[in-house]
Each structure stands twice: as structure tokens, then as C-alpha cells.
Symmetry: C2
Subunit: 272 residues, 2 copies
Amino acid sequence: MTVGIVGLGLIGGSIGLALREPGRKIVGYDPNPESVKTARSRFCIDSEASLEEVAQADIVFVAAPPAAVISVLDTIWSSKAPQTVVSDCTSVKANVIAWATKQNDPNFVAGHPMAGHENSGAAFASAWMFRNARWILCPVKGTSKTSITTVESAIKAMGATPVRMKPEDHDRQVATVSHLPHAIAGALVLLRSELGDGDFSGGSWRDLTRVGGVDPNLWTQIFMENRVELSKAIHTLEVQLEGLKASLDNENAAGVHHFLERVKQAKKTDGH
Amino acid sequence: MTVGIVGLGLIGGSIGLALREPGRKIVGYDPNPESVKTARSRFCIDSEASLEEVAQADIVFVAAPPAAVISVLDTIWSSKAPQTVVSDCTSVKANVIAWATKQNDPNFVAGHPMAGHENSGAAFASAWMFRNARWILCPVKGTSKTSITTVESAIKAMGATPVRMKPEDHDRQVATVSHLPHAIAGALVLLRSELGDGDFSGGSWRDLTRVGGVDPNLWTQIFMENRVELSKAIHTLEVQLEGLKASLDNENAAGVHHFLERVKQAKKTDGH
């Protein structure tokens, strides 16, 4: 079995490492020679190939930046083998789903692995990146069961759990559980930098700001693609915080307690 | 040397474990018999004692809830040995500092260990709780150098780094680096509970919501004591998020990029 990977960054590199096994040949493409070099030196891929060659693999994962994904998919579709199953890893699904709906090809499965970290590039890739992570799949009407099964098998082989979801639900939820946390982490880092000297932050601070400082180019694309849902999520967060702030400003201890008690109850059912 | 601990919860219990050494006798008091039992069974203290007896120790750490601290300090001062040095662990300093300024006793050193986690009680206490943590001290005019040195030695013995700070700076900074993260974590947990089914959150979500669900009684006291600074911190966060939201709403990719680029630069100098 040949696995193709387009985009040899943190996610693409990790897919290569996670699928590495004697029976699989892993070929990769990235327009940046430095990324290819890093991916090869870390054994993320067996060999480099052109995008057209990668498109001949049995399964191709597209882990390109959001702004490049559609043009990559178009190129793959102009040269791919008939049986090649393709899945993308883009963290916002609206654009890719619009493309998939138009294309209506049984062999494309839109996807999004819920994994990553604050560093980028294959230098930080890990075979364990997807262990115990959810990997969302958003099939469209024309997507075949066979290609879904093929992608799900590969996802399971990486240690992740495939979860099917409607694309609009995906984009709305990901705005809250991933993009909003990144926006908050950024805002907190800016607040902290304005506080000046006196560094004594504790564990909660380190946790909340870990993903502050992510790659501005990549995350501008992600935020912009999901701008409607992210804007709504920011607004909803502000409504919650304004409620707490009003209790504080009115010296309303019962109101503060009510907020924290609701959080405690919600957290119990949240499971994280 | 005898160490006294008032309040045998997560922090008090951890102080006991962190200072456990053949040369030190650790005596503890807590009004709740269950807390005493847990602290004893986990070897956080050598023996239980009344508050008046604990007040005879060479050094006493007061790790009582914010609402109880002043009354505990008053009781200790009505019965303490002349040489006993006392330090509190309260996470908001304004009330304690007002008391200390009025008392003007050379043997009291206001403090705050920048450590803890989302669970409470001595059942979760750890000898390693304070390793590599900052431990803020806010001496007042009357505080003697000898008692500061005594407290700093104990703090270093626990593996923490003592840092001196003005109480008003402490309360302002802690509002941003500790209380605000707790407020955000709470707001996020509430948002998530409204999203309904489809649990697929990633690492950034787990990080940001870890401290969501903390003890409502304790944290109501903390939030209320620092309500002015926390309210300001929430407002400042909202200003930052509103700036990002405006860029998203105006489809201003350059604005989003500028936000993320500023975060990246600030994070570099933040050191966390």
C-alpha cells in the first residue's frame, strides 16, 4: 500500500511517522525543499515525489495550509489514479466542502484531525500525535462508503478515533473548542506583555497561553476561513464573562458563586 | 524546629509534605475533622493540635480560605509565642495587608505561593507542589528582616523561589495571570456545555479548561476579594478580543495577522 502526503509540516510529517510500517510505502510532496529535507531526515517519508506522482498513491492525505488546499485538490484531481482515495486535514471545512460538493467524487473524504501543538514543521512531528485524538470526517452526499472505510482504517492505524460530523456542525464547534482557545491565548499573552516586570505566573497561566504564539501566517488563514463562527464564539464568551463581571462590579457574591457552581456542574458532564 | 500549619487543604497539606524532614516537627490545625484525618493519613503532619498550640511553633503557615484568614490571624496573635514567625498563603493580599499594617508586627510576613491545581483537599497534596514555583512575599514597613529570612528559608526548603512584591502590584498581576485564567476556563466550560453533543476537543481545549470546575466556595471568596482588579482584567481581555473580532467581522486578514504577529513577538519575551 502506498500512502501519499501533501504538505510535510507538523501534521503531514506526523501522518507519515504514524503510518510507518513495513507494508506501507510513504511518499511525500511539499513545495518547500527545506520542509522535504526535514521530513526525510526525520523519516516521515520514504521518498519525495512530485504532486502528480503522490496523486497515484492508494490513499493521499492533504495537509496543506488552508489557503492552498483547493488548488492542491484541483491538481490532484487532474492527475490522480482512478482508485486513489483523498482526504484533507483542513481545520475549517466550509471551503473544502463547497469544493467536494461541486466535484461530487466518491473518492474524496473531507477530514480534520483534532491534534497539533504550538510548534510547526516536521521537526516537531511525532508518531504519537494522533493517539487518542478524534479525527473528524465530513462526508458529502457523493462520498462512497468504500473510501470512508479506507480513510477510517488509516485513521485507526494512527491510533485516532474517526468521528463523522456535518461540516456546519464541525465549523461551529471547532470555533469554540479550538479557534477560540487560540484567540484567548493570544489575547492573554498581549495582556501579560503589558503588565511589565514581575514574572510569577502559575500553572493555569502556562496552560492557557501555551498555544499563544502560533504561526501567524497559518492561523490568519484558519481564523479568516472560520471568521463568522469564531466571531460568534468570541461574542458568546464575552457574554459569559460580562455576566461574571457584572456580579463582581455589583459586589454580588451569590452571583459569582452561581457562575462557579454552574461551571462545576457543566465540567462534570464535559468529561475533560 | 517546629512548623505549624493552619488549614490542612491542598496548600497546607503540601507545605507539610514539602517540609517533612527528620529535624522538623510538623503540627497542624483544621476546624474540619475530616481534613485533619486526610492530612494525617497522607503524612502531611506529625500531629494534630489546637490553633493555640499551633501558634507556639517556630514558623506558622496560614493556609486558610480567604474569608477565614483575618479571624485566624487574630486568634494566633492572641496566643502566639513571642518569637513565632507567621506567614499566610492567601491569593489576594489587600485584606491581609490592611490587617498587617494595622498590627505592624515584625513577625508577620504576607505571602502567596504561585502553585495549586484544579482539585482541592489534602488528598491531592504533594511534596513537589512548590518545586520551581514562585512564592510571592509582600512585607510591610514593620516586617523584620529576620522574619523575612525565616520564611524565605522555609520557602526555599520547599523548592520554591521567594519573590518580593508590593501588595498592590501582586493583586493586579494575579488578577491577570491567575484569576482571569480561572474565569475564562469557567466561561469556556459553560460555552461547551451549550454546544451539546459531538465531543472532539483537542489539546488546547483541555489546557484552557483544566481549572474550570474549581471549588465554588473557595473561588467565590478569591474572586470577590480581588473583584476590582479581576473586573479590570476581564475588561482588558475583552478589549483585545474585540480588536480581533472587528478584524474578523470586517474580513480584514491583515488585522488578524497583525494580532497574531504581536502575540508571537510578545510570547518570545514572555518566557512561558
